[in-house]
Subunit: 137 residues, 2 copies
């Protein structure tokens, strides 16, 4: 059995965070020995799962839902995962654009980047995608 400190070291997640997650119902309350938490190796996988879910862009609230419905309601679970895949794909596209724009910023010969047509196109693109209504001309 691991203490919380050992679990923290093994998983790379601070003790403060592990307790925080338990308070937030993301981890089942650990067994106690003399008031102290004791973990099995399984907990390592649980903690790892939480970090991976975070990497995938789930908020803690979403993760709680996913976990709750993991075994209980496979249909709903798949929906949540599929929805998140769409989010991730969107983020990927945005990040790729950002990367291209950064790399262009290094190449760009315009002395002021706000005059660069490529930059202006990107702004324009973003603005139209984000609730702009008036002044469209």
């Amino acid at each position: 059995m691991l203490t919380i400190g050992q679990l923290a070291t093994a998983s790379g997640v601070p003790t403060s965070t592990i307790r925080f997650w338990e308070r937030r119902d993301l981890l089942v309350p650990a067994a106690r020995s003399g008031g102290q938490r004791r973990y099995t190796e399984d907990a390592l996988a649980q903690v790892g799962l939480l970090r991976l879910c975070q990497d995938a862009g789930f908020t803690l609230t979403e993760i709680r839902q996913v976990l709750a419905q993991r075994a209980a309601d496979p249909t709903r679970w798949r929906e949540l995962v599929e929805a998140k895949m769409v989010d991730v794909a969107t983020s990927l596209r945005k990040l790729r654009k950002a990367y291209d724009l950064l790399s262009h910023a290094l190449e760009c010969t315009h002395d002021d980047i706000v005059k660069c047509p490529r930059f202006q196109a990107a702004v324009e693109n973003r603005a139209t995608a984000t609730g702009r209504t008036a002044l469209a001309g």
Copy 2:
């Protein structure tokens, strides 16, 4: 000349955010007419630049630095941009992994994902990459 409301509509950035950015020295204080801010079309590009920098993952603090050194110190400016490109590339790799893992989660035949070798490999990978020291066996 645009009022702040018109600029907000044109750029897709709320008035509250525009004022916030000005307070944070990310926008030069607008000219005033009877106490009210008045903007030229240039401001539209400035606001757009801010949003694009955010998309690229710069924090507001970083953006302030980048802007401050844009004309003043081209060398330093390139460094900041190059450093951010590295960050973005890292984020891209992580997101791709997350995406693959999500898609695998939908396919996976293991009834509990924490038993799936692919999941365990991902956890292991993440843990070793994140300051793990003890219990490496």
